[in-house]
Symmetry: C2
Subunit: 320 residues, 2 copies
DNA sequence: ATAAAAAATGATAGCGCTGTCATTGCCATT
DNA sequence: AATGGCAATGACAGCGCTATCATTTTTTAT
């Protein structure tokens, strides 16, 4: 309708520098007028590049992965890629279904959370032949790309912090026993055994999904089975917050009678009364760096390090 | 390789009932072996049905829209559609960019949050000629499909609740002034004016993004400009929670000296001390119903009602 | 003014699938 | 045995775009 061939229109959008200024403007104008939007499906088919990347996270219920995804989006959007996000609810089975679903979009790469995949999922990914980067945990296997931090080291650091505050009877309470939670449990154990203070009845691990309400429940349960506990390390801030509220209700003095610590440093954790000691995890940064690494792999660039450890920070606050 | 034509493979996946049991199994087997996944781009192109639907929400930072999206996903997944989600950060400009980006996926329908779109966005959507359903607010214009509840009515109900508790100097505090927040403000005003108790200095509206930390700040600011306030209605639970913490810190007795109310009923709101009076919004249900409505429109079925009001519930708790 | 190089535009084929119509083979009915 | 009907399978074209190579136009160098 502008008297231009289709290929020129295509070029005006994909390689604007190859089309004369004037013509490009006319094409743009015409496109705006009729509300033309390039069809990605056709583009992907013809160019063999979908410009899609798939991202799988376990949950969006607290802000942890929302921030990661925000970082990912930022990087990819800048480079013209479209991010497709799926939530697997901490289930390797759901993950496989999602991998299948997103592979159908012929993504140029994929970001996965952790390393807890089914063998069949791994096979699917291999056959797809696209680059994969794993987030949050650090690689435990040859050849895998990953960006994250050591969950164990962070949990060790927190346990040592509680020890340094003079606590002797430190409990560990966890729910939703995904691999990262279990790694935190190992970190706690390492530190507490090294201090010669390990007592199995101070560990409380339940499979239920984490929530603030569950934190209150688990606090009560733990104090029943180990009443003389003087510090509790919760595997995440949600549980710790619930415990903090329950202490307030029951008149348990925090930190005097009982120290409480969490993990993740959610925004609310510095607002609670008392404010919550926790581990600040580099969630946003993990997203950004993982996206950059994947981008490099997609573009065929060499990646200097296959494993990027972004560390963590201990935020010591009023609750300990 | 199974000695079957491509069209038969296609049929085995799309219309399994049209392929013999035996052959279908063999095709499935072969597909699993080589990790074959159907290419949606090609499928969409050939069939003129992408089986994509695009969903635009303002934020994922608190669980409000996460729950809505969960409901949407559930419905669409059951029907074989893939949901593509975008976050517009309460910006009509970002929304337009997202509409463009997702229109490129040739979605069969789109779900938008609210009615606050640019004219150019509206034009794009019209030209795309796909069904659109709006969520959270109820339609204010001819022909628009919407699923939600009356933000104004809910805010009125909350204000009347505070009045019924004998409060006379009720403040309204809001941030992130999106259309729904402003509708809540109108609801508050209506009720408070009707009670003859409107005083402009008890309204505090700031454009900043909502957060728990901001709740504490705004509480302080409000109490400076209107120290004798005996109840505060916050436009959302995040702010109200921050205020609750600040009251705890300052020793302000809630609800005796000051009643505090929120909006949304986040999971944490019934755990706080004191527990938070708030409006339970049908977030998940909005997602489910909006998805069903859109599905009906896509399939060309008649939709009984263009506007579905799912109501709300007042949760009176300790904080009032 | 002319040749050579560079820039701008076009023609063609084909990406992987599916809608449509055609063909084959089988069974039931007469 | 012949016919019609139906289920199962296949051939072919084309969805909207872009990679590639071909052609035309413009610019630069001589």
């Amino acid at each position: 309708m502008t008297g231009v061939s289709t290929i020129t229109v295509s070029r005006a959008f994909r390689h604007p520098e190859k089309v004369s200024e004037d013509l490009r403007r006319r094409i743009q104008q015409a496109a705006d007028d009729i509300g033309y939007v390039r069809n990605r499906a056709a583009s992907a088919l013809a160019s063999n590049r979908s410009m899609n990347i798939a991202v799988l996270v376990p949950s969006l219920s607290n802000s942890v992965f929302v921030e990661t995804v925000t970082g990912i989006e930022k990087v990819f959007r800048e480079h013209g890629y479209q991010m497709l996000m799926g939530v697997n609810h901490y289930s390797a089975e759901e993950e496989e279904a999602l991998v299948r679903a997103y592979l159908a979009f012929a993504p140029d790469g994929m970001l996965l959370t952790g390393f807890n995949h089914r063998d069949s999922t791994r096979r699917l990914l291999e056959q797809a032949g696209i680059p994969i980067v794993h987030m949050m945990e650090l690689s435990d296997r040859e050849g895998a790309y990953s960006v994250g931090f050591s969950q164990e080291a962070a949990a060790q650091a927190m346990t040592e912090h509680l020890l340094s505050r003079g606590r002797q009877r430190i409990a560990f309470v966890a729910s939703q026993l995904d691999p990262r939670t279990l790694a935190r449990n190992r970190g706690y154990r390492d530190a507490i055994i090294r201090a010669g203070l390990y007592e199995s009845h101070r560990e409380l691990l339940v499979p239920d999904q984490s929530s603030v309400a569950l934190g209150a429940v688990l606090l009560k349960r733990l104090l029943e089975q180990a009443p003389d506990t003087d510090a509790i390390f919760f595997c995440n801030d949600d549980l710790a917050q619930g415990a903090l509220f329950e202490c307030l209700r029951q008149g348990i003095a925090v930190p005097n009678r009982l120290a409480v610590a969490g993990f993740n440093d959610l925004a609310i954790s510095e607002c609670t009364v008392p404010s919550l000691t926790t581990i600040k995890t580099p969630r946003y940064e993990v997203g950004v760096e993982a996206a950059r690494m994947l981008l490099a792999l997609i573009e065929g660039e060499t990646v200097p390090r296959k494993v990027i450890d972004l560390g963590f920070q201990l935020r010591a606050r009023e609750s300990t």
